[in-house]
């Protein structure tokens, strides 16, 4: 199934920064948050005024801040993506077993991860395309079972237009029944009782058009609001 209605998605979809901005609006003040490598990392840029989240990185830092100026990197101070970061007041260091005790022990409020596929039963596939090569998993399988809320931030469809939101994942799973909310480039969707529940959609698409780009049924339980995002970059 590839974009049957030939909808001009580029005209209606959120940018990566806008998706990240939308996800950031749901992070409560004082939350401990882990952001996956890549697109989810952008969420840290868009904390709403008056709220402060504390960011956790698997390699043993709580309370890290943005990248330092070029040339000012300290390579003992990196994040899980091996990028140089800085410290905010109140930061703390710890070893890897404690870091994953924070994860597995349910101490993080939120983890936001990328996705290859998400299924209506909450299954997530984001670590292997199953295509051979060298497999790598990192901390994704731990994060999906640790944080109290596991959200996904992803384009609604693949580059070729195929749905990434499916009845069941086809790729190797990262976790079973773990995702509770999806911030896609076209919609905000909750996963509840094994179903996709549509909460918000971009104004430029009808529900029917969005459904045609989604691989499982979208349920509507309450009025669907427009998915709007600040003009951020």
């Amino acid at each position: 199934m590839t974009n049957p209605a030939m909808i001009d998605l580029e005209a209606v979809k959120l940018t990566n920064a806008q998706m990240a901005w939308r996800a950031a609006q749901d992070i409560e003040d004082g939350a401990y948050v882990n952001l996956g490598i890549g697109l989810p990392e952008l969420v840290a840029k868009f904390q709403p005024d008056g709220r402060e989240a504390i960011f956790h990185t698997e390699n043993g830092v709580l309370g890290f801040g943005p990248a330092p100026a070029k040339g000012a990197e300290d390579w003992d101070l990196i994040n899980a993506g091996k990028k140089a970061v800085t410290l905010k007041p109140g930061a703390a260091f710890f070893h890897h077993a404690d870091s994953f005790a924070m994860v597995r022990g349910g101490h993080l409020n939120v983890a936001i991860l990328g996705a290859y596929e998400v299924a209506e039963n909450g299954d997530l596939a984001n670590w292997s395309t199953g295509a051979g090569g060298v497999p790598a998993v990192g901390g994704a399988m731990d994060l999906v079972h640790g944080a109290r809320r596991v959200a996904v931030i992803t384009d609604h469809v693949t580059k070729s237009g195929a749905p990434k939101l499916l009845t069941r994942c086809t790729l190797p799973l990262t976790g079973v029944g773990c995702v509770t909310r999806i911030y896609s480039s076209l919609a905000v969707i909750d996963i509840a009782q094994g179903r996709f529940v549509l909460r918000e959609k971009v104004a430029g698409l009808s529900v029917e058009q969005l459904q045609s780009l989604t691989g499982a049924k979208l349920h509507i339980e309450a009025p669907v609001t427009d998915l709007t995002a600040a003009q951020v970059a």
Binding site: E58, G60, W75, F100, M141, G146
Partner: protein, 235 residues
């Protein structure tokens, strides 16, 4: 008591062929580059190496793999900015890979150090990485049984160490180093400075000396990231 060793070469001289070796670090941060290079010079082969990654560029762990000394790697993320060395060996079938989720890897190592032969974790339940492992239900949720991980040797990097083996770390370079120190029969720590006995505040010691067998000075240690930007190759 004096656990200090005069040279990096002496510190690793008795690591034999076939040994299992934990190597600290997360990417280049906290990686004991000088000890790894001493191990390359010493030349034991058929090693099983436990590290979070699989090396980057042509120094440190990547250089150890390139030298053909590693038969098996246990890691969570064998991907890096420049993974060519590991990828070539892996795709040629010249190195075994045991892929372990990062938190499970850390807890297996901690368990090894703490004398806990097995534990249950929700991580990997229902995935390919749980295949063949016992599963049990606790309070209505499914968990996968994982086993401890121990090693003959650990090569770790710390900031300061005294002759009793007490260690402090620097920033996020701590990562796997303290737990690997616990899980190996012989733990060898390279330190940026030797602290006079009594000068380390006991309140700030992260790894107590009981977990450390040898302390060796590596002043101004190299950072893998810096070496790679210089396109360094070892040896």
């Amino acid at each position: 008591m004096d656990k200090s060793i005069p040279s990096l070469a002496q510190a690793v001289a008795d690591i034999p062929d076939g040994a299992s070796v934990m190597i600290g670090g997360f990417g280049g941060s906290g990686a004991p580059i000088e000890l790894i290079h001493a191990l390359i010079d010493a030349g034991p082969r058929n090693l099983t190496v436990i590290n979070n990654n699989a090396g980057n560029g042509h120094v440190g762990l990547a250089a150890l793999i390139a030298a053909g000394q590693v038969a098996k790697l246990i890691c969570s993320f064998p991907r890096s900015a420049d993974p060519r060395v590991f990828n070539a060996k892996y795709l040629a079938g010249e190195i075994d890979l045991e892929l372990v989720p990062q938190g499970t890897l850390a807890e297996r190592i901690r368990a090894g150090g703490a004398g806990t032969p097995a534990f249950y974790t929700p991580t990997s339940f229902g995935t390919d990485l749980a295949r063949g492992k016992p599963v049990a239900e606790f309070e209505g949720r499914s968990y996968v049984q994982e086993r401890w991980l121990k090693a003959d040797f650990a090569l770790i990097k710390a900031e300061a160490g005294d002759v009793m083996g007490n260690l402090t770390y620097r920033m996020a370079a701590r990562n796997f180093n303290p737990i690997m120190a616990m899980a190996a029969r012989t733990t060898i720590a390279q330190v940026s400075r030797i602290a006079p006995l009594g000068s380390l505040d006991p309140e700030t010691v992260v790894t107590p000396g009981i977990f450390v067998n040898r302390v060796v000075l590596a002043e101004n240690p190299a950072q893998e990231e810096v070496l790679n930007r210089q396109e360094a190759v070892y040896p």
